[in-house]
C-alpha cells in the first residue's frame, strides 16, 4: 500500500534525533490518535542549518516527518513556511488516502517549530505561521474514501 519512497523514508528515516541547542521546537499530534511528531530546528541567519525529528506513529508518520525535514533542510525560514502537505505527499510519490492526515501533521509540525522560533525571537507567530498543531490533524482528512476500511480477521 505504501510507495517505495515511503518505505525508504520509513526504514531509513533522514534526520532522526534531537538538537541540543535547537532554537525552534514544535510538537503536534497526541497519543490518543496515535501520531506524535516533534521537530527540532537550528536556524542561523534565517536559514535552517539543521533539522531533526522524533516521531511516534505509523510508517506514513515516520516517512512524512523524514521527508518534511529533508524538504526544509538548508532552506530559508520563508521557504520553509511555504511547505505544504501536498509537497510532502508528492515528494513521497503519494500516500494512501487514509494516511493523508500524516502529511498534514508533518506540515503542522514544521510550522509549529517555526512558530516556536518566531516566539523565541519575540514575534507573534500567528499572523506569520497561522494555526498550527491545534487543528487536530488526527481527526481531519479521515473522511476520504479510504479504500479498504479495516483489517479484519
Amino acid at each position: 500500500m505504501y510507495t517505495e519512497k515511503v518505505m525508504d523514508h520509513f526504514m531509513n528515516p533522514r534526520n532522526v534525533g534531537t538538537i541540543e541547542d535547537a532554537n525552534g521546537v514544535g510538537q503536534v499530534g497526541n497519543l490518543k490518535c496515535g501520531d506524535i511528531m516533534k521537530i527540532f530546528l537550528k536556524i542561523e541567519n534565517d536559514v535552517i542549518v539543521d533539522v531533526k525529528f522524533q516521531t511516534f506513529g505509523c510508517a506514513a508518520a515516520v516517512a512524512t516527518s523524514s521527508m518534511a525535514t529533508e524538504l526544509i533542510k538548508g532552506k530559508t525560514v520563508q521557504e520553509a513556511l511555504q511547505l505544504t502537505n501536498r509537497a510532502v505527499v508528492e515528494a513521497l510519490d503519494d500516500l494512501p488516502p487514509m494516511k493523508m492526515h500524516c502529511s498534514v501533521l508533518a506540515e503542522e509540525a514544521v510550522k509549529s517549530a517555526l512558530a516556536d522560533y518566531y516566539q523565541r525571537q519575540g514575534l507573534d507567530p500567528i499572523p506569520i505561521v497561522g494555526c498550527t498543531g491545534n487543528c487536530d490533524a488526527c481527526h481531519s482528512d479521515h473522511a476520504h474514501d479510504h479504500g479498504r476500511s479495516d483489517e479484519e480477521e
Binding site: 518505505m7 520509513f10 526504514m11 528515516p13 532522526v16 534525533g17 510538537q27 497519543l31 490518543k32 490518535c33 496515535g34 501520531d35 506524535i36 511528531m37 516533534k38 522524533q54 516521531t55 511516534f56 506513529g57 505509523c58 510508517a59 506514513a60 508518520a61 515516520v62 487514509m98 488526527c138 481527526h139 479521515h142 479510504h146 479504500g147 479498504r148 476500511s149 479495516d150 483489517e151 479484519e152 480477521e153
Partner: protein, 393 residues
C-alpha cells in the same frame, strides 16, 4: 531478503488466516477436477460430489458433536455470523426486538448488530473485564422479556480470551432465548461440543484452521428456525441457496478433522512455543501480555509494547521476515485503536502499541527464535525515535 522470497518467512499471523493444509488440498483436488458435478443433479456423475458434500457435513458434525442435518455450509465466518444473528432476530420479531452481545465481538457481529439497530432492534453490549472475559452477571441482568437472541463469541481474535460459553448457554436455555456463538477462532483449536456448550447456533470459518478461504459453516440446532440470508435454489435444505462449493466444503472438513485429531498434542506444542515467546518478550521493558493469563487460545499471544506504534512495529518485523499483527488504529484505517483493547480498559496510547503473534500448525521453535531475536531490536529502534519514550531502558 528478496521481496518475493518467503521461504524463510516466519508467519505468525495465524489468527488472520492460515496456510491450507496439505491434507485439505489433496482432499479438495478431486472435486475441483474429476468430480465437478453439481450436487443437486440427479445423474450418477453428481453422486460423487453429493456424497463428498454429505461426508464433509458428517465430518464437521462429528467434530462438533452435532447431527449432520444441523450443519449448513456458508461462504465463511462473516456469512455465518450474519445469517445466524439476522436470521434469528427476524424470525423472532413476534417475541421481541432486543438482542444481547458483547463489546469485544468481531465486526462481523458488531456491525451486524449496528445494522439491526438501524432497523429498530435494540441491542445491549455487555462489557468485559480487564482480561477480556465477558461479564456474565451483566449479561444476565440485561435480559428482558423481549430478548430474543444472545450472541457471545467463543474466543476473542485479538487477545485470545476464551469466554464462559457453556455457562451462558445454560442460562440462555433456561430463559428460552436463542444463543449464538461466533466460534471462528475456537473451532479446530480448542474442544467445541455444541451439546456441552448449549448453543443453538455456532459460526466457524475454514481458513482459520488450515482449511480454504471462502467457506464456513453454521451449526443450527435441530428445531431452531431462522430466516435464510439468501433466497434461491433451495440448497442446504432451503437454508442456504446457491450451488454448493463442494471442494471448499470438502477442504474445510478435511482440515477440521485433521485439526481435531491433532488438537491435544498441537495445543501443548503451541502453548510451549507461546511460553517461550512470553518469556522473551516480557523481558523487554514496558511490555505486558493482554487477555486472560490461562483461559486462552493455545497459539495466540498478545502484548502491549508501550511508547511505540503498532503499524511501525509490524512493518519493521515484516522487513525482517516476520508476519504479525496489531490493533493499532493506523493499521485498521479507523480513528481508534482496536475496540477490543479499549473495551478491556486499555488507554489509547497503550492500545496503539499492541502486538499479536498467532502461531499455528506450521510454526516452529526456529520461528520463535527468530521473533525473539528481531523483536527487541525493532522495539529499541522505534523507541529511539519516539518523542514519548522516557529512555528508561
Amino acid at each position: 531478503m528478496d521481496k518475493n522470497d518467503f521461504s524463510a518467512y516466519v508467519y505468525a499471523d495465524n489468527a488472520a488466516t492460515t496456510r491450507l493444509s496439505d491434507t485439505a488440498l489433496e482432499a479438495m483436488l478431486p472435486y475441483m477436477t474429476a468430480y465437478y458435478g453439481n450436487p443437486s443433479s440427479i445423474y450418477s456423475f453428481s453422486h460423487e460430489s453429493r456424497k463428498a458434500l454429505s461426508a464433509a457435513r458428517s465430518d464437521v458434525a462429528a467434530v462438533l458433536n452435532a447431527d449432520p442435518s444441523e450443519i449448513i455450509f456458508t461462504s465463511g465466518g462473516t456469512e455465518s455470523d450474519n445469517h445466524a444473528v439476522v436470521g434469528a432476530a427476524r424470525a423472532n420479531v413476534a417475541k421481541g426486538k432486543h438482542l444481547i452481545t458483547s463489546t469485544i465481538e468481531h465486526h462481523a457481529l458488531l456491525h451486524t448488530m449496528k445494522q439491526l439497530e438501524k432497523e429498530g432492534y435494540s441491542v445491549t453490549y455487555v462489557p468485559v473485564d480487564g482480561e477480556g472475559t465477558v461479564d456474565v452477571e451483566a449479561l444476565k441482568a440485561a435480559v428482558r422479556p423481549d430478548t430474543t437472541v444472545i450472541s457471545i463469541m467463543m474466543a476473542n481474535n485479538e487477545v485470545g480470551t476464551i469466554q464462559p460459553i457453556a455457562e451462558i448457554g445454560a442460562f440462555a436455555k433456561s430463559k428460552g432465548i436463542l444463543f449464538h456463538t461466533d466460534a471462528v477462532q475456537a473451532v479446530g483449536h480448542i474442544p467445541v461440543d455444541v451439546k456441552e456448550l448449549n448453543v443453538d447456533m455456532l459460526s466457524l470459518s475454514g481458513h482459520k484452521f488450515h482449511g480454504p478461504k471462502g467457506v464456513g459453516a453454521l451449526y443450527l440446532r435441530k428445531g431452531v428456525r431462522i430466516l435464510p440470508l439468501m433466497q434461491g435454489g433451495g440448497q442446504e435444505r432451503g437454508r442456504r441457496s446457491g450451488t454448493e462449493n463442494v471442494a471448499g466444503a470438502v477442504g474445510l472438513a478435511a482440515a477440521l478433522k485433521e485439526a481435531a485429531s491433532q488438537m491435544e498434542t498441537e495445543a501443548a506444542r503451541l502453548k510451549a512455543l507461546v511460553a517461550r515467546l512470553d518469556e522473551g518478550i516480557l523481558k523487554i521493558p514496558y511490555t505486558k501480555k493482554t487477555g486472560h493469563p490461562t483461559n486462552r487460545l493455545p497459539g495466540l499471544a498478545s502484548y502491549t509494547v508501550e511508547f511505540i506504534e503498532g503499524e511501525s512495529m509490524i512493518l519493521h518485523l515484516d522487513i525482517r521476515g516476520i508476519a504479525a499483527s496489531t490493533g493499532s488504529a493506523c493499521s485498521t484505517g479507523s480513528l481508534d485503536p482496536s475496540h477490543v483493547l479499549m473495551a478491556m480498559g486499555l488507554t489509547h496510547e497503550v492500545a496503539h502499541g499492541s502486538l499479536r503473534l498467532s502461531l499455528g500448525k506450521y510454526s516452529t521453535d526456529a520461528d520463535v527464535d527468530k521473533i525473539l531475536a528481531e523483536l527487541p531490536e525493532v522495539v529499541a529502534l522505534l523507541r529511539r525515535m519516539s518523542p514519548v519514550w522516557p529512555g528508561l531502558e
